[in-house]
Symmetry: C2
Subunit: 80 residues, 2 copies
Amino acid sequence: MKATVYVTIKENVLDPQGTAVQGALHSLGFNEVGKVRIGKYLELQLDTNDKNEAEARIKAMCEKLLANTVVEDYRFELEG
Amino acid sequence: MKATVYVTIKENVLDPQGTAVQGALHSLGFNEVGKVRIGKYLELQLDTNDKNEAEARIKAMCEKLLANTVVEDYRFELEG
């Protein structure tokens, strides 16, 4: 089973990396670019076929390691 | 218009960050985790309503700044 996890910075938290990328795009001439937010994208192979169990385990992984839930949100998709 | 860009490391390129996360998950007891691949996830607001133009511009941004096309792949979605 394959899990895809998206970790994003919460809406009301500053994203300095996004601001830097926005500035770099502007200086390259991409002036139509407004707000930029940057997050993480993870693909995990899981050695299980039980979708409910996989959901619970991925949730635990996100809470414990993959996301800092103070300043980040996460969501995930399972397939296969 | 909102663009979502996914930048991932090419399949045949080593991903040391992914390997580190895999090791950390194993040491936390998540032994069912196999390969982990980590990428970037970007959300950009674009001040344009022309979808074709936006596609061409996002492609140029990816080629020039957002992705290192030697070792990374990218894909994007447009909405709004």
